[in-house]
């Protein structure tokens, strides 16, 4: 099993990196770009689990370590 975790700044939390990238995109001639947010991408392999088990364990990993719920949201995909 392979998990792909996407971590993004929580809505409403300051995202200075996203803002800076957005400004740069505008300066480079991409005025249509807006709501730019920078997050993290985590990939990992899981052994000895079915899809349901992999979901459960990945979610636990997110809540315990990978994500800080005060400032971040997350979602993930599981592939066989």
């Amino acid at each position: 099993m392979r998990a792909r975790v996407y971590i993004t700044p929580k809505k409403g939390v300051l995202d200075p990196q996203g803002k800076a990238v957005e400004h740069s995109l505008h300066a480079l001639g991409f005025p249509e770009a807006h709501d730019v947010h920078l997050g993290k991408y985590v990939e990992l392999s899981l052994e000895g689990l079915d899809v349901g088990g992999a979901r459960e364990r990945t979610d636990a990993m997110c809540r315990k370590l990978l994500v800080n719920g005060v400032i971040e949201d997350y979602r993930f995909e599981i592939d066989e």
Binding site: L14, P16, Q17, A20, K40, L65, N68, V70, I71
Partner: protein, 243 residues
Amino acid sequence: MRWGVVTFPGSNDDHDTLYVLDHVLGEDAVSLWHKDRDLQGVECVVLPGGFSYGDYLRCGAMARFSPIMESVVAFAGAGGLVWGICNGFQVLCEAGLLPGALIRNRGLRFVCGQVHLRLETTDTPFTGRCARGEVLTLPIKHGEGCYVADPATLERLDENRQVVLRYVDASGRATAGANPNGSLNNIAGVVNEQRNVFGLMPHPEHASEKVLGGEDGLKLFRSVIAAHREVGDRRGAAVAPGH
């Protein structure tokens, strides 16, 4: 009074803090190793500045799961004094011992320099020897010092007088220009509701000798020592009538 300063892999202000406690203040200070669980009978634990675990994932996110932190969390839960400076503040937020989080500075740059801080409450063991409204000058040096929390948490912090320090200008006004990192409400340091866990981004240990530019940091260390002595005196007084 016995102090313990934790060393995580990547801590770099641990020895500076031990130096101030030992050489400047003459306190009994021991080094605590992140892999140990024994707090060696200390009465205040300091989580020092630095870049624990390389700041990987999020600042303080990995340090929070060190073996020593299990003991620190239990110690704090029993009312023990825990003090996080800079990276130590980040660790305390990640561990859930303090509310909120510290994210990348709004200006995206590492900031390094002296800042003015207004002391918002003397009702903590860390600030009892200061005056309310007093402006302290302490150095900062961090890339992720922007304090954030949701509106309900910010409101609760104000209601309970948990904001200890705010970034201000030289005359004590909390302006946007005096805010070095974009922290909400200019917050530079907070205590927990029980007032025994304190975190701040500025460095009192680097403002503890005149030759290094100032001594305002000593006011915080001396507050802790005085608070500890008062608790001891009260205990002594409570015991005395029986003898």
